[in-house]
Structure formats: structure tokens, C-alpha cells
Symmetry: C2
Subunit: 312 residues, 2 copies
Amino acid sequence: MNIALDMMGGDFAPLETIKGVQLFLSENNHDDVHLTLIGDENKLIPLFKEYTMNPENFTVVHAPEVIEMQEHPTKALKEKQQSSISIGFHLLASGKTDAFISAGNTGAMMVGSLYSIKAITGVARPAIGAYMPGENGKLSLLVDVGLNADCKPENLSQFALLGALFSTYILNNKNPRVALINVGEEEGKGNILCQAAYPLLKENERINFVGNIEGRDLLLDKAEIYVCDGYTGNILLKFAESIYDIVQKRKIDDEYFNRFNFEMYGGVPVLGVNKPVIIGHGISTAGAFNNMILMAKKMIEQNFIEKIKNEF
Amino acid sequence: MNIALDMMGGDFAPLETIKGVQLFLSENNHDDVHLTLIGDENKLIPLFKEYTMNPENFTVVHAPEVIEMQEHPTKALKEKQQSSISIGFHLLASGKTDAFISAGNTGAMMVGSLYSIKAITGVARPAIGAYMPGENGKLSLLVDVGLNADCKPENLSQFALLGALFSTYILNNKNPRVALINVGEEEGKGNILCQAAYPLLKENERINFVGNIEGRDLLLDKAEIYVCDGYTGNILLKFAESIYDIVQKRKIDDEYFNRFNFEMYGGVPVLGVNKPVIIGHGISTAGAFNNMILMAKKMIEQNFIEKIKNEF
């Protein structure tokens, strides 16, 4: 399998991407993985030498341009065809690579996923899943966290299935529970979207729907997948991230709150597109890049995209 | 002034309501305040004796019924006319009292506020504000946290003004900043509601609008009022409350996270109705009840309702 990594993406690239690749190559037996490292050769080659990495394990694809974090996604993808993200999507779409990972411009990664890789037939709206650290030590998945600010009830029902498949095949949860994020537990509660989504989720036989959960239940052992619109999910995720920032700033060293370090989990998958795409956090360091390569490897090994296609 | 308190509302009533009243009467000079204590005389009178409270400072109004926490609000208000909440709203609506406080059934308090006290003319949708503890030691107000699961852009603009008036006159902030909770900072970001609300907030000359803020900014010093629909606000508030529960459970004693104890702030005001109504948390203890009486006193002293009427 061939996994491509944007070497220029993230606040600490390319140093941390290089170190992440080195970590991946050193840690386990990854003979079946060939890495495609996309970025500015002039910056990368001296670093490969410095970190004495065996060139047999990877191919470098030169990308003279970089889409910066603050650039407008669609405009940047159009104008910077030679950027690492543009080339990454080109290689993935043309079948030369099997997965693409970047911690670069999130918007460009989303736009590229939707317009270059495209949604799987039957998936109306791909979504992004993010991890929520449960108090019980487990990880739940929050879907959607940003691709779809406005959703229809059917979208939420599809997010539930996409999340359940990821939870089953990538996080190894058997028959994972799906809950709808809402303002009360009873059926009929909530905004119009939730009121209409609830019966669809209840009738969806391919998921294990356990009903509504409230904001206070998100960190408890109530479900493995939490479904909401992308506006709500994005705000919740960023709020949770800020809690970790404050915990760090206040020098609180607590085993549970340390798990709010979202970097631990690498990146977040784009669910419902035709190839594995993983979006990393801007502040990703070596460990996060290593985790993202491992996640991509697992998605390929599990034939995850085929499993989604079979369900839609 | 005459402030009414539901003595039977809350998980620890009537013991903690009694202790809260005692605290209020002992703490300061409140000669201008007469309290109307509504509840079951048979339970209250022995406690007044036990806590040696001076009956000159209050009047007891007997309420033989209680609306329990899990009852359906509209149904309970209709069927239990002799409940403490029903009597509380009756006294307030008829002008016999000047404010009403309860930590009882939240839904019944909302329904009572909307249908018995009613919205101020010009206020399309009253809202509930809740405090968010800022990292800088200050308190911000999150509006709405649950009255309006679905909102129109004009509602958000009105919540902004209601919140700004509360922040100005009750929390003593001069020209408080209003921010819209969104998925990105730039104008044009977000769901359809936020996209449409942004220009209304920008054009609203009676508020100091500072733009969008993201989930990660809610605890920072970005604004004094955060505006969002009641679905999002409710989920955010309950999520924040759960953080405090976990902090306590994990025995983390941190000055900042201790401020996530929402009980410290007493209750939350119903903004935009014709009289001061304050809703307490179910787990309220004496300190919370004392704080709620103080808030009601300040709302009356400041002629807060008149100030809202003048703006709408």
C-alpha cells in the first residue's frame, strides 16, 4: 500500500513531519507500506540526511508550493496546483496513492476531499469525525465536526452509519451505540432538526441507536458515536480543545484531562469520500503524524472504503 | 420590594431554601426587602423555628402541592394550581410580588414565564442567559441556553441586546462586547442562521458587536455576551457543567475550574419577560438561593425590566 503525506502541512512542518515518518518507520514492521512524501525537496532532502532515513521506504514527490494556513481553500487549490495539498489529492484521485494525510490548511483538505476525491455514491454529505475522550478510558466519535454547518435529518442518519462503521472497523467496537446530541433525553425534544432526525435514527436498522444524550453526557459511557450537525460539533470540539489548553496552562497534571490532548489521536478522518483522507491538527508533532499514518494503514488494511460502499 | 421564593424547588428543598433565606437575612442590611416564601406550611414552620428566623422579614404563603422535577411542565402547571410554582407566578402576575425565584422544575418555570408573565412587547422570544467563567476572572453571559431550540436571525439580535442590558445593569460591565458563536471568525462563516444573524448584529447600533468567536474562545476574554441559538447554548452549558463534575470527581482543586461550579452564581435570569424571574439549578444549596435573592434585588433596584422596555 502507498500512503501519501503532506510534508509541508502543520505549524511545525517539515521538521515534525520528518520526525513522524522516522517514528513510523522505526517503530514497527511496516514492510507493506510505502510512503509518498510530498513537499519541497530543497527543504526535505537535507532533513532526510540529518535524520538518516532509508530512502527505500519512501518516495519524495517535489511540491514547490505550499497552501498557507490562512489562505482561502478553493482559491488556493485552484491557483496553487503545485502545492503539496493539490499534488496529494491529484495522486490520490489518480490511484497512484491509497491514502492522503495532511495537517495543513483544513479548509483546503475538506474542499479537496469533496471535489477531488468526491463522496461515495449514496452518501449525500461526507462528514468529519473527531474523538471525544470518555471518562471510562474509551474513545467516542463525534460526527460531524465541521463539514456540514447546516444539516438535514437524513444527513444525521448517514453520519450515524458512517461513524458506526469507523467505530466498528477502525476503533474495534462491536455493535457501537449511536446517540443524538440533544437538549433533553425524551423523543420529541430539541430543535426541528433533532425532532426529525430521531425517528430516522430509530428506524435505521444498520445502527444501534440508543436515543438522545445531553451535553453533560458527552464524556460519559453513553455511546460510542455522538451525532450532531457540523456547526454544533465544531463548537463542542473546539470548546473541549480549549479545556485542554487551560488545563496545561494551569499546570494541572491529570490522567483524564491529559487525554484531552487531541494530538494523541493524530488526525480526524473524512468519512464518506472515495479514498482514505485524514486531516491533522495544525499543531501536530511527530507522534500525531505517526498516528495518522497508522490510521491510514488500518483504513486500507480493513478495506474500510469498500465497507462503506457496501452499506450505501 | 417583595421577592418571592419557591421554598419547595430544588433537590435539597426546603432545608436549603430555608438556609438560603437565613443567609440572606443575616448577611446584609435588607430592610427594604420583604420575602414571600411559598411552600408547604407544615414543612416550613418547624424549620423556621429550628433556624430561629424572624417572621417580620417574611410572609409565608401556603402551597399544598409541588411540581416534581420530572413532571410535564404545561400539564403540571394546569393540574397543580396549588403548587408553589403556580402560586409564585400568580402572585407575580397579579403584582403582589416583584420577582419570583425557583430551583424547581425548569420547564415549568420557563412555561410560567412565557405564558403567565409573558414577553415584553417587542421581544419576539425571551431567552435564558447563563454565566461562563472567563479565564481572566470575569463572567460572561451565554444567551440563549434553552428557551429557543430553533431561532431566527432576528431572535439572535434581540438576545444580544437583552444580554447586553443584563451585563450592563446587573453585572456592571460598561459597553459590554457581544460576540456570535460560530465555526470561524470571518463574516460569512457558519450555518445559515449565523450567516444571516451576523449583518443584523453588525447593524444593531445598541450593542457593541465584536464579530464571530469560535468554541475555543468561549473561556477567553473575547466578549461579555456570547449569542447563539438555545440548542447550541444548552449543549455547551451542560458540557461545561460536566467538566466541573469531572474536576470534582478527580479531586482537582484548581481556582479556575472551581469557578465552573455554576451554583456559585445562583440562578439564571429569564430575559425579556415582564417581571424578574430567576431559575435555579436543581442542585442549589443555601449559597445559591442567597445569590438568587440578591440578583432579584438588584434587578428590582436597577429598574431592569423598565430599561428593557425602553429599548424594545
